[in-house]
Symmetry: C2
Subunit: 164 residues, 2 copies
DNA sequence: CTAAATCCTACCAGCGCGGTCGGTTAACCG
DNA sequence: CGGTTAACCGACCGCGCTGGTAGGATTTAG
Protein backbone atom coordinates (compact mmCIF):
# COMPACT_ATOMS: atom_id res chain seq x y z
CA UNK A 1 0.00 0.00 0.00
CA UNK A 2 1.19 3.44 -0.82
CA UNK A 3 -0.57 5.43 1.84
CA UNK A 4 -1.17 4.32 5.40
CA UNK A 5 -4.49 4.46 7.14
CA UNK A 6 -3.49 7.77 8.67
CA UNK A 7 -4.09 9.27 5.27
CA UNK A 8 -7.37 7.44 4.82
CA UNK A 9 -8.70 8.48 8.21
CA UNK A 10 -7.40 11.99 7.95
CA UNK A 11 -8.95 12.58 4.55
CA UNK A 12 -12.26 11.23 5.78
CA UNK A 13 -12.08 13.51 8.73
CA UNK A 14 -11.48 16.47 6.47
CA UNK A 15 -14.37 15.50 4.22
CA UNK A 16 -16.61 15.14 7.23
CA UNK A 17 -15.65 18.60 8.43
CA UNK A 18 -16.19 19.94 4.95
CA UNK A 19 -19.71 18.58 4.97
CA UNK A 20 -20.63 20.48 8.10
CA UNK A 21 -22.19 23.92 7.89
CA UNK A 22 -19.64 26.50 9.03
CA UNK A 23 -19.88 28.38 12.28
CA UNK A 24 -19.77 25.74 14.97
CA UNK A 25 -17.16 23.09 15.78
CA UNK A 26 -17.64 19.37 15.28
CA UNK A 27 -16.44 17.01 17.95
CA UNK A 28 -14.15 14.12 17.12
CA UNK A 29 -16.59 11.80 18.78
CA UNK A 30 -19.24 12.70 16.23
CA UNK A 31 -16.81 12.10 13.36
CA UNK A 32 -15.63 8.82 14.83
CA UNK A 33 -19.17 7.55 15.11
CA UNK A 34 -20.19 8.74 11.67
CA UNK A 35 -17.23 7.04 10.01
CA UNK A 36 -16.82 4.11 12.36
CA UNK A 37 -13.26 4.94 13.33
CA UNK A 38 -11.51 4.58 16.69
CA UNK A 39 -11.75 7.87 18.53
CA UNK A 40 -8.43 7.62 20.35
CA UNK A 41 -6.57 7.03 17.15
CA UNK A 42 -8.35 9.84 15.37
CA UNK A 43 -6.97 12.17 18.00
CA UNK A 44 -3.46 11.45 16.81
CA UNK A 45 -4.47 11.92 13.23
CA UNK A 46 -6.21 15.23 13.72
CA UNK A 47 -3.24 16.49 15.69
CA UNK A 48 -1.20 16.40 12.52
CA UNK A 49 -3.82 18.34 10.63
CA UNK A 50 -3.96 20.92 13.35
CA UNK A 51 -0.20 21.34 13.51
CA UNK A 52 -0.22 21.83 9.75
CA UNK A 53 -2.77 24.60 10.15
CA UNK A 54 -5.45 22.84 8.14
CA UNK A 55 -8.00 22.64 10.93
CA UNK A 56 -8.62 24.74 14.00
CA UNK A 57 -9.92 23.60 17.34
CA UNK A 58 -11.74 24.70 20.46
CA UNK A 59 -11.29 22.86 23.73
CA UNK A 60 -13.78 22.19 26.44
CA UNK A 61 -17.43 21.28 26.32
CA UNK A 62 -19.02 21.92 22.93
CA UNK A 63 -15.55 22.21 21.52
CA UNK A 64 -14.36 20.49 18.39
CA UNK A 65 -12.71 21.04 15.05
CA UNK A 66 -13.42 22.97 11.88
CA UNK A 67 -11.67 23.74 8.63
CA UNK A 68 -9.17 26.55 8.80
CA UNK A 69 -9.99 27.54 5.20
CA UNK A 70 -12.87 27.03 2.79
CA UNK A 71 -12.79 23.55 1.27
CA UNK A 72 -12.25 25.01 -2.20
CA UNK A 73 -8.93 26.42 -1.12
CA UNK A 74 -7.59 23.26 0.49
CA UNK A 75 -5.56 21.16 -1.91
CA UNK A 76 -5.33 17.50 -1.05
CA UNK A 77 -1.63 17.84 -1.53
CA UNK A 78 -1.42 19.75 1.73
CA UNK A 79 -3.67 17.31 3.52
CA UNK A 80 -1.82 14.18 2.53
CA UNK A 81 1.51 15.84 3.14
CA UNK A 82 0.44 16.74 6.67
CA UNK A 83 -0.71 13.21 7.34
CA UNK A 84 1.98 11.15 5.71
CA UNK A 85 4.96 13.43 5.72
CA UNK A 86 6.84 14.25 2.56
CA UNK A 87 5.78 12.33 -0.54
CA UNK A 88 8.95 10.38 -1.19
CA UNK A 89 9.03 7.45 -3.57
CA UNK A 90 12.38 6.41 -2.20
CA UNK A 91 14.76 6.88 0.70
CA UNK A 92 16.92 9.27 -1.28
CA UNK A 93 14.05 11.72 -1.51
CA UNK A 94 13.26 12.22 2.15
CA UNK A 95 14.93 15.54 2.75
CA UNK A 96 15.07 18.49 0.46
CA UNK A 97 18.60 17.83 -0.62
CA UNK A 98 20.32 20.77 -2.13
CA UNK A 99 22.49 18.65 -4.33
CA UNK A 100 24.50 15.44 -4.47
CA UNK A 101 22.14 12.99 -2.82
CA UNK A 102 24.24 9.86 -2.69
CA UNK A 103 21.54 7.41 -1.77
CA UNK A 104 23.74 5.06 0.22
CA UNK A 105 23.78 2.38 -2.45
CA UNK A 106 24.95 4.76 -5.06
CA UNK A 107 28.18 3.48 -6.59
CA UNK A 108 31.03 5.93 -6.25
CA UNK A 109 31.91 5.00 -9.79
CA UNK A 110 31.12 7.50 -12.49
CA UNK A 111 27.36 7.36 -12.83
CA UNK A 112 24.64 8.21 -10.33
CA UNK A 113 21.38 6.41 -9.77
CA UNK A 114 19.50 5.94 -12.97
CA UNK A 115 16.57 5.02 -10.80
CA UNK A 116 16.35 8.56 -9.59
CA UNK A 117 14.99 9.62 -12.94
CA UNK A 118 12.17 7.15 -12.53
CA UNK A 119 11.31 8.04 -8.95
CA UNK A 120 11.34 11.70 -9.82
CA UNK A 121 8.75 11.16 -12.52
CA UNK A 122 6.60 9.08 -10.22
CA UNK A 123 6.80 11.64 -7.48
CA UNK A 124 5.75 14.29 -9.94
CA UNK A 125 2.79 12.20 -11.02
CA UNK A 126 1.61 11.72 -7.47
CA UNK A 127 2.00 15.32 -6.44
CA UNK A 128 0.23 16.61 -9.52
CA UNK A 129 -2.70 14.31 -8.87
CA UNK A 130 -2.97 15.51 -5.31
CA UNK A 131 -2.61 19.16 -6.17
CA UNK A 132 -5.34 19.01 -8.78
CA UNK A 133 -7.86 17.74 -6.27
CA UNK A 134 -9.37 20.03 -3.68
CA UNK A 135 -11.23 19.09 -0.57
CA UNK A 136 -14.31 20.62 -2.12
CA UNK A 137 -14.12 18.03 -4.90
CA UNK A 138 -14.31 15.23 -2.38
CA UNK A 139 -17.06 16.86 -0.39
CA UNK A 140 -19.14 17.30 -3.50
CA UNK A 141 -18.43 13.71 -4.51
CA UNK A 142 -19.57 12.44 -1.15
CA UNK A 143 -22.78 14.46 -1.39
CA UNK A 144 -24.02 12.80 -4.55
CA UNK A 145 -22.75 9.49 -3.27
CA UNK A 146 -25.70 7.27 -4.02
CA UNK A 147 -26.03 8.38 -7.63
CA UNK A 148 -24.73 6.26 -10.46
CA UNK A 149 -20.98 6.27 -10.63
CA UNK A 150 -20.61 9.33 -12.78
CA UNK A 151 -17.31 9.90 -14.55
CA UNK A 152 -15.86 12.21 -11.98
CA UNK A 153 -12.34 11.56 -13.11
CA UNK A 154 -10.23 14.22 -14.75
CA UNK A 155 -12.39 17.22 -14.44
CA UNK A 156 -9.55 19.60 -15.16
CA UNK A 157 -9.44 19.48 -18.93
CA UNK A 158 -7.38 16.42 -19.61
CA UNK A 159 -4.27 14.54 -18.70
CA UNK A 160 -2.38 17.81 -18.36
CA UNK A 161 1.23 18.01 -19.42
CA UNK A 162 2.35 14.76 -17.88
CA UNK A 163 4.94 14.49 -20.60
CA UNK A 164 3.57 12.13 -23.16
CA UNK B 1 8.40 5.62 1.48
CA UNK B 2 6.20 4.67 -1.37
CA UNK B 3 8.29 1.92 -2.90
CA UNK B 4 10.35 -0.59 -1.01
CA UNK B 5 13.95 -1.37 -1.75
CA UNK B 6 12.79 -4.34 -3.78
CA UNK B 7 11.79 -1.87 -6.42
CA UNK B 8 15.03 0.05 -6.11
CA UNK B 9 17.20 -3.05 -6.39
CA UNK B 10 15.09 -4.59 -9.09
CA UNK B 11 15.16 -1.50 -11.25
CA UNK B 12 18.90 -1.23 -10.84
CA UNK B 13 19.25 -4.82 -11.82
CA UNK B 14 17.22 -4.22 -14.94
CA UNK B 15 19.27 -1.18 -15.84
CA UNK B 16 22.44 -3.14 -15.35
CA UNK B 17 21.17 -5.88 -17.65
CA UNK B 18 20.12 -3.26 -20.15
CA UNK B 19 23.64 -1.90 -20.20
CA UNK B 20 25.15 -5.22 -21.19
CA UNK B 21 25.67 -6.14 -24.82
CA UNK B 22 23.14 -8.80 -25.82
CA UNK B 23 24.05 -12.39 -26.49
CA UNK B 24 25.54 -13.63 -23.26
CA UNK B 25 24.11 -13.84 -19.76
CA UNK B 26 25.23 -11.72 -16.82
CA UNK B 27 25.66 -13.36 -13.44
CA UNK B 28 23.97 -11.97 -10.38
CA UNK B 29 27.30 -11.84 -8.67
CA UNK B 30 28.57 -9.36 -11.23
CA UNK B 31 25.51 -7.18 -10.76
CA UNK B 32 25.75 -7.37 -6.99
CA UNK B 33 29.35 -6.25 -7.04
CA UNK B 34 28.77 -3.50 -9.56
CA UNK B 35 25.90 -2.02 -7.58
CA UNK B 36 27.06 -2.92 -4.09
CA UNK B 37 23.98 -4.97 -3.25
CA UNK B 38 23.69 -8.17 -1.22
CA UNK B 39 23.77 -11.11 -3.59
CA UNK B 40 21.47 -13.38 -1.60
CA UNK B 41 18.78 -10.76 -1.47
CA UNK B 42 19.11 -9.98 -5.16
CA UNK B 43 18.23 -13.59 -5.84
CA UNK B 44 14.81 -13.05 -4.36
CA UNK B 45 14.34 -9.87 -6.28
CA UNK B 46 15.31 -11.28 -9.63
CA UNK B 47 13.03 -14.25 -9.06
CA UNK B 48 10.08 -11.90 -9.28
CA UNK B 49 11.31 -10.44 -12.53
CA UNK B 50 11.80 -13.89 -13.96
CA UNK B 51 8.35 -15.06 -12.94
CA UNK B 52 6.93 -11.99 -14.60
CA UNK B 53 8.73 -12.90 -17.81
CA UNK B 54 10.86 -9.77 -17.87
CA UNK B 55 14.20 -11.53 -17.67
CA UNK B 56 15.36 -14.96 -18.74
CA UNK B 57 18.00 -17.09 -17.13
CA UNK B 58 20.48 -19.87 -17.75
CA UNK B 59 21.72 -22.09 -14.96
CA UNK B 60 25.11 -23.59 -14.42
CA UNK B 61 28.58 -22.24 -15.00
CA UNK B 62 28.62 -19.09 -17.15
CA UNK B 63 24.91 -18.84 -16.61
CA UNK B 64 23.12 -15.69 -15.63
CA UNK B 65 20.30 -13.38 -16.59
CA UNK B 66 19.37 -11.24 -19.57
CA UNK B 67 16.44 -9.14 -20.69
CA UNK B 68 13.57 -11.04 -22.23
CA UNK B 69 12.80 -8.10 -24.56
CA UNK B 70 14.69 -5.11 -25.88
CA UNK B 71 14.87 -2.33 -23.31
CA UNK B 72 12.82 -0.02 -25.52
CA UNK B 73 9.85 -2.35 -25.22
CA UNK B 74 9.97 -2.73 -21.45
CA UNK B 75 7.77 -0.23 -19.68
CA UNK B 76 8.73 0.50 -16.10
CA UNK B 77 5.12 -0.09 -15.26
CA UNK B 78 5.66 -3.80 -15.79
CA UNK B 79 8.90 -3.81 -13.87
CA UNK B 80 7.59 -2.07 -10.80
CA UNK B 81 4.42 -4.09 -10.87
CA UNK B 82 6.42 -7.30 -10.91
CA UNK B 83 8.53 -6.14 -8.00
CA UNK B 84 6.00 -4.47 -5.78
CA UNK B 85 2.79 -6.15 -6.71
CA UNK B 86 -0.25 -4.15 -7.77
CA UNK B 87 0.06 -0.39 -7.46
CA UNK B 88 -2.56 0.24 -4.83
CA UNK B 89 -2.75 3.53 -2.98
CA UNK B 90 -5.07 1.98 -0.43
CA UNK B 91 -6.32 -1.31 0.91
CA UNK B 92 -9.53 -1.06 -1.07
CA UNK B 93 -7.61 -1.19 -4.32
CA UNK B 94 -5.79 -4.45 -3.95
CA UNK B 95 -7.96 -6.65 -6.12
CA UNK B 96 -9.55 -5.83 -9.41
CA UNK B 97 -12.94 -5.07 -7.97
CA UNK B 98 -15.76 -5.07 -10.44
CA UNK B 99 -17.68 -2.56 -8.44
CA UNK B 100 -18.85 -1.84 -4.93
CA UNK B 101 -15.60 -2.14 -3.05
CA UNK B 102 -16.77 -1.68 0.50
CA UNK B 103 -13.43 -0.91 2.04
CA UNK B 104 -14.19 -2.18 5.52
CA UNK B 105 -14.52 1.28 6.99
CA UNK B 106 -17.05 2.32 4.44
CA UNK B 107 -20.21 3.46 6.18
CA UNK B 108 -23.26 1.45 5.19
CA UNK B 109 -25.09 4.74 5.09
CA UNK B 110 -25.92 6.17 1.70
CA UNK B 111 -22.62 7.43 0.36
CA UNK B 112 -19.49 5.52 -0.59
CA UNK B 113 -15.90 6.49 0.17
CA UNK B 114 -15.18 9.96 -1.01
CA UNK B 115 -11.55 9.11 -0.52
CA UNK B 116 -11.80 6.65 -3.33
CA UNK B 117 -11.99 9.48 -5.82
CA UNK B 118 -8.71 10.79 -4.50
CA UNK B 119 -6.89 7.46 -4.45
CA UNK B 120 -8.08 6.71 -7.94
CA UNK B 121 -6.57 9.91 -9.24
CA UNK B 122 -3.32 9.26 -7.44
CA UNK B 123 -3.14 5.74 -8.73
CA UNK B 124 -3.69 7.05 -12.23
CA UNK B 125 -0.91 9.55 -11.79
CA UNK B 126 1.53 6.92 -10.66
CA UNK B 127 0.70 4.42 -13.34
CA UNK B 128 0.90 7.01 -16.09
CA UNK B 129 4.33 8.08 -14.90
CA UNK B 130 5.54 4.51 -14.91
CA UNK B 131 4.06 3.63 -18.26
CA UNK B 132 5.64 6.62 -19.92
CA UNK B 133 9.12 5.54 -18.89
CA UNK B 134 10.88 2.66 -20.60
CA UNK B 135 13.88 0.77 -19.42
CA UNK B 136 15.75 2.22 -22.37
CA UNK B 137 15.21 5.70 -20.94
CA UNK B 138 16.96 4.71 -17.73
CA UNK B 139 19.76 2.92 -19.51
CA UNK B 140 20.41 5.94 -21.64
CA UNK B 141 20.28 8.17 -18.59
CA UNK B 142 22.85 6.03 -16.83
CA UNK B 143 25.11 6.14 -19.88
CA UNK B 144 25.03 9.91 -20.06
CA UNK B 145 26.25 10.03 -16.49
CA UNK B 146 29.42 8.11 -17.09
CA UNK B 147 30.43 9.68 -20.38
CA UNK B 148 30.83 13.11 -18.89
CA UNK B 149 32.84 11.60 -16.09
CA UNK B 150 31.13 13.98 -13.68
CA UNK B 151 28.15 13.47 -11.40
CA UNK B 152 24.83 13.24 -13.13
CA UNK B 153 23.25 15.83 -10.92
CA UNK B 154 25.64 18.53 -12.01
CA UNK B 155 22.93 21.11 -12.56
CA UNK B 156 21.13 21.47 -9.26
CA UNK B 157 18.52 18.77 -9.64
CA UNK B 158 17.56 20.05 -13.07
CA UNK B 159 17.38 16.45 -14.30
CA UNK B 160 13.62 16.68 -14.04
CA UNK B 161 13.83 18.51 -17.32
CA UNK B 162 14.92 15.27 -18.91
CA UNK B 163 11.98 13.60 -17.26
CA UNK B 164 9.45 15.51 -19.29
C1' DC C 1 -18.46 21.87 40.31
C1' DT C 2 -19.05 18.77 36.71
C1' DA C 3 -19.32 17.03 32.23
C1' DA C 4 -17.49 17.28 27.68
C1' DA C 5 -14.21 17.84 24.98
C1' DT C 6 -9.22 18.70 23.33
C1' DC C 7 -4.57 17.62 24.23
C1' DC C 8 -0.46 14.90 25.44
C1' DT C 9 2.65 10.96 26.34
C1' DA C 10 3.71 6.48 26.92
C1' DC C 11 2.99 1.93 25.68
C1' DC C 12 2.11 -2.35 23.06
C1' DA C 13 1.23 -6.33 19.57
C1' DG C 14 1.67 -7.62 14.90
C1' DC C 15 3.79 -7.65 10.70
C1' DG C 16 6.19 -6.52 6.70
C1' DC C 17 10.84 -5.43 5.15
C1' DG C 18 15.53 -6.19 4.36
C1' DG C 19 18.59 -9.62 4.77
C1' DT C 20 20.92 -14.27 5.84
C1' DC C 21 21.76 -19.22 5.48
C1' DG C 22 21.94 -23.82 3.84
C1' DG C 23 21.01 -26.66 0.53
C1' DT C 24 19.65 -28.55 -4.27
C1' DT C 25 19.86 -28.65 -9.15
C1' DA C 26 21.83 -27.67 -13.56
C1' DA C 27 25.40 -26.72 -16.90
C1' DC C 28 30.06 -25.96 -18.48
C1' DC C 29 35.20 -27.26 -18.32
C1' DG C 30 39.25 -29.83 -17.99
C1' DC D 1 34.00 -38.17 -14.80
C1' DG D 2 34.39 -34.66 -11.11
C1' DG D 3 34.86 -30.04 -9.80
C1' DT D 4 33.20 -25.47 -10.08
C1' DT D 5 30.05 -22.08 -11.08
C1' DA D 6 25.77 -20.14 -10.65
C1' DA D 7 20.64 -20.33 -10.75
C1' DC D 8 16.98 -21.89 -7.75
C1' DC D 9 14.39 -22.67 -3.46
C1' DG D 10 12.57 -22.25 1.22
C1' DA D 11 13.15 -21.43 5.95
C1' DC D 12 14.43 -18.23 9.27
C1' DC D 13 15.09 -13.71 11.83
C1' DG D 14 15.80 -8.94 13.94
C1' DC D 15 14.00 -4.50 13.62
C1' DG D 16 11.13 -0.62 12.87
C1' DC D 17 6.91 1.06 11.71
C1' DT D 18 1.86 0.92 11.79
C1' DG D 19 -2.40 0.81 13.95
C1' DG D 20 -4.30 1.12 18.12
C1' DT D 21 -4.94 1.52 23.41
C1' DA D 22 -4.52 3.65 28.09
C1' DG D 23 -4.53 7.13 31.11
C1' DG D 24 -4.20 11.21 32.35
C1' DA D 25 -3.96 16.66 32.22
C1' DT D 26 -6.13 20.82 30.68
C1' DT D 27 -9.70 23.77 29.10
C1' DT D 28 -14.43 25.44 28.75
C1' DA D 29 -19.75 25.57 28.80
C1' DG D 30 -23.52 25.14 31.77
Amino acid sequence: MIFSSKAEYGVRLMVELGRQPPGHPTSLKAVAEAEGLPLAYLEQVVARLRKAGLVMSARGAHGGYWLASPAEEISMDEVVQALEGAIAPMECFVNEHTERVLCSHEPDAGRGCATKLLWTRVQGGIIRSLQQTTLADLVEFSRRGEHTGSPVFSRRGEHTATAA
